[in-house]
């Protein structure tokens, strides 16, 4: 009996015998429609002793990635900040003293209100890093305070695809996978970055789904792909236009849809004329026969859909137009908003679309932007500003430094990482110019070190969070454990601040759950009801929107049609067709520079154990890939005398750094990749701060010129 009990304990078997209880929560490392996995947290004596995927959770069905499995090393990491901190030393030093929450809040409120009185509330920027669940509350806080400025990581991720979509269709949706015959996966590595999709994709493939993969590297997806288009990074637009050329030439497009529901088709056809398979092959490096095969496969299937990722297609100086060219293929072939195509599902909450309606938009925007001063980046990125409800963070450092068109003096950031900015040394400098910088984070990051006040946030295991999932599943989590030390959920911090800096926001004064109830009202859901379903709830009678919504009232574009030629771009004096331009720094656009920097550099290629800069402190994750590395092909390595694991210098015109080389022939010859999230090297020093897409403001993180040289010891 005793032996049995010991075995149960050692093996963490939940039950009365061991005193181990399972509590349901969600992982907060990644957020979005394809992640936020359901988790079973094994709790004993108020501590998490094990985690695993929640089997009954439709999103991930029991699976959990290498990052989620290391949750305990995140939650209980000894670097967690456990009390509010006030800086006493110089900016950037680690000289902080612990203060109480009230004192912290009072200090912050006093300063923010002072700035508001002196130069206006717009002088305070509210922001968030990757974290998304808190954004509606944080943005509302800022707006209720009076500032239009909400500057987040979405200025470099995902929203540029929204810009491209809105310019072309007015709206967009993900693949209606279960009804698709062919899936065009344009640069998404689900097996590393969106593991809940892995099984679903493999299963669909086993049931006959044809897959086209577009990627500069061979990945695990390549095994399932009918054809892989290994393109030079940044040439996505040319490739898409090349596919359009073939589709139109061979009459594979949906002539009816094009005639009834699009504008600019003639100009588009004339433009793609020059993107012959041979010309396209010369630009992209993809063999002409592959391009033909892919175009025919995509256009010829019963129903085809496109799966894109948040950033690889738009992290280029020609990103938005690239992405427009890609998604244009959808309308061209009549696959827009139809079964098996790309299906538009309106957003329910935090960029997840379901058949459930909420008041998320009304909640987040109690006031219109028209009623407030212009946002940061409005002049520089007018298209972005007109289509996206945030500031453009890429202009933030410039505005802080120049004080034009108005001074930015305060920043309240929920987990900022200064390294996210291209030329991140400039942003670091800008932070030093602020009157007050408040950073909310779990750890004393290099960015938090620049702050005046650091407020300790907690993990998803320690808070309550609302999340919707495709398939009409919703969860309102309950804390699996108490927040560590004096850390608080970001939501609590936001509502506490609201009491002090936005006292006129009546709804916010009622608190977090009251707000959630307000948001959920149209859905007929309440927080109390959701609390009774710890694993979440599938709303089976949620009515999914109809397909072909455009048939009722047209597309939400100025012309009411799908725009091959974008009215908004034309209006702004920008080329309205989804034209192809070389990346600003490419072997074709800068041949002289390319003699010195002949390799194409892409940054941010996903690794399975890291998510941006989040999991490096988790030993189990760090051990899996301990050193910064670049990947380089064997020919490029051999001609430089580089062997696997050699120390090398990666250099661009702006900066250089020492890393290790991993020689692999999964990567395109002439291309080099590096993961971006390391804090021991400065990947984003490699870029100039203005290496941006002029339309979206997105940095050209995935196409740049570089050279790699072996370090001689």
């Amino acid at each position: 009996m005793a032996l049995n009990k010991t075995l149960l304990k050692i093996n963490k078997i939940p039950g009365d015998e061991t005193g181990i209880e399972i509590k349901k929560t969600i992982c907060g490392i990644c957020e979005g429609s394809t992640t936020s996995c359901g988790v079973n947290a094994y709790i004993k004596d108020g501590r998490v002793i094990k985690v695993e995927g929640m089997p009954e959770f439709p999103q991930n069905q029991g699976t959990l990635c290498a990052k989620g499995n290391a949750s305990r090393q995140y939650i209980y990491n000894k670097e967690r900040i456990l009390a509010p901190l006030r800086r006493v030393g110089k900016r950037g030093s680690s000289d902080f003293e612990e203060i109480g929450w009230d004192e912290a809040y009072d200090t912050i409120a006093e300063k923010l209100l002072q700035i508001k009185a002196e130069t206006g509330p717009e002088s305070v920027v509210f922001g968030a890093g990757f974290t998304k669940w808190l954004r509606p509350f944080a943005q509302r806080l800022g707006i209720s305070f009076g500032s239009p400025n909400f500057a987040t990581e979405s200025s470099t991720c995902f929203f540029a695809t929204e810009v491209a979509a809105k310019l072309t269709y007015g709206y967009w949706g993900g693949p209606d996978l279960s009804n698709s015959g062919c899936l065009l996966v344009w640069s998404k590595n689900v097996f590393f970055s969106a593991t809940p999709l892995a099984k679903k994709l493999i299963s669909a493939w086993k049931n006959g789904l044809k897959i086209i993969e577009v990627s500069p590297m061979a990945t695990h997806l390549t095994r399932y792909a009918d054809v892989r288009l290994g393109l030079r990074p940044g040439t996505d637009g040319a490739l898409a236009l090349g596919m359009a050329h073939i589709i139109i030439k061979e009459g594979l497009h949906d002539a009816k849809f094009v005639a009834e529901w699009t504008t600019g088709f003639d100009e588009y056809t004339a433009y793609v004329e020059k993107f012959t398979p041979e010309k396209t092959a010369a630009i992209t490096g993809v063999p002409a026969s592959f391009i033909k095969r892919a175009a025919r496969l995509y256009a010829g299937a019963n129903a085809s859909s496109i799966m894109t990722s948040a950033s690889p297609t738009v992290h280029h100086t020609n990103g938005v137009q690239n992405h427009r060219a890609i998604i244009a293929l959808c309308g061209l072939t009549g696959n827009f908003d139809r079964p098996g195509g790309n299906y538009v599902v309106p957003e329910t909450w935090n960029h997840v679309g379901t058949g459930v309606t909420t008041r998320h938009h009304e909640f987040t925007f109690p006031r219109s932007f028209d009623e407030m001063p212009p946002r940061v980046g409005a002049d520089q990125f007018p298209i972005w500003t007109s289509l996206i409800n945030e500031s453009q963070s890429m202009y933030l450092p410039q505005q802080i430094l120049s004080q034009k068109p108005y001074p930015i003096r305060g920043l309240v950031a929920f987990g900022y990482n200064h390294r996210m900015w291209p030329g991140s040394d400039v942003f670091l400098k800008a932070l030093g110019k602020l009157d007050i910088f408040v950073d909310i984070d779990l750890f004393m990051t290099d960015t938090a070190r620049q702050a005046d006040i650091v407020l300790p946030a907690c993990s998803s295991f320690e808070r309550s969070q609302l999340h919707f999932y495709p398939g009409n599943h919703v969860i309102y989590t309950q804390p699996a454990i108490d927040p560590l030390g004096e850390s608080k959920p970001d939501s609590e911090i936001i509502f506490d601040l609201a009491k002090r800096i936005a006292p006129d926001d009546d709804l916010m004064q009622h608190g977090y759950e009251a707000c959630l109830d307000w948001v959920l009202k149209p859905a007929g859901l309440t927080v109390e009801q959701l609390k009774r379903h710890p694993s979440g709830l599938t709303i089976s009678n949620a009515s999914m929107p109809p397909y072909r919504k455009y048939e009722e009232g047209g597309f939400p574009t100025p012309t009411g049609k799908m725009e091959f030629v974008s009215s908004l771009l034309r209006q702004a004096g920008i080329q309205p067709l989804p034209v192809y331009n070389e990346p600003a720094l490419s072997p074709h656009s800068e041949p002289v520079l390319a003699e010195q920097f002949p390799l194409v550099l892409g940054t941010g290629t996903r690794l399975p154990m890291y998510m941006h800069s989040r999991t490096f402190r988790n030993k189990w994750n760090r051990d899996l890939h301990p050193h910064p590395t670049i990947t380089i092909g064997s020919r490029d390595a051999a001609s430089r005398g580089i062997s696997d694991l050699d120390d090398v210098i990666l250099a661009t015109p702006r900066s250089s750094m020492q890393v290790k080389a991993r020689v692999t022939d999964t990567i395109c010859p002439g291309v080099v990749n590096i993961y971006h999230g390391w804090s021991e090297i400065e990947v984003n020093h490699l870029f100039e701060p203005d290496y941006l897409d002029p339309i979206s403001g997105f940095p050209g993180f995935k196409s740049l010129l570089c050279e790699v040289k072996k370090v001689l010891h």
Partner: protein
């Protein structure tokens, strides 16, 4: 032995996501650097675009386990009911003979110098759960079951493949 348990691993579907490695570490509270009872290796073949095969290996619970044969004290033993190969750490002397005998690198050594190995999470299985690595596998490449059932499943899918390919012809 009643019914022998085994891991099932489909090399075609393993994406190298490494979730199984960390799940095992989390289940077993490993603190030592790089200590895991499950390992994933990547084998790359060919010129660009090279193919990668990922292999996730823990203990194979071999039917004729070399570790069991060479263990000088008999510390390594087999669970009668399931065939799971396990170690009695009370009589393990840390001689490393098993480490030399195992072609898969399954025997590992803890801080106390004694051997520790994958036991197929046998206690979890006995309580109606899956091994931690199997539970977490993001692609379904890693599964477990009774060896007869797994063999039958393999035969079935092979037969289907043969039938389908002959249809295509």
């Amino acid at each position: 032995m009643d019914k022998k348990l085994a891991f099932w691993f489909d090399i075609a579907d393993c994406s190298g996501c490494l979730a199984c490695v960390v799940a095992c570490q989390d289940q077993n509270d490993f603190k030592a650097p790089d200590m895991a009872l499950r390992q994933v290796s990547s084998l790359e073949k060919g010129e660009y675009p090279a193919t990668i095969a990922n292999i996730s290996l823990a203990c194979m619970h071999c039917g004729d386990a070399p570790c069991l044969m060479v263990c000088p004290t008999g510390a390594i033993f087999r669970h009668n009911a399931t065939g799971v190969v396990d170690v009695n750490r009370d009589i393990c002397i840390g001689c490393h003979s098993c480490e030399m005998a195992c072609p898969f690198g399954a025997p590992k050594f803890a801080q106390d110098g004694k051997m520790i190995k994958c036991d197929l999470c046998i206690t979890r299985i006995e309580n109606g759960m899956k091994p931690a690595c199997v539970h977490t596998c993001t692609t379904g490449a890693l599964r477990f079951g009774y060896i007869d059932d797994l063999a039958a499943e393999k035969t079935r899918s092979a037969s289907i493949k043969i039938l389908e390919s002959s249809k295509e012809k």
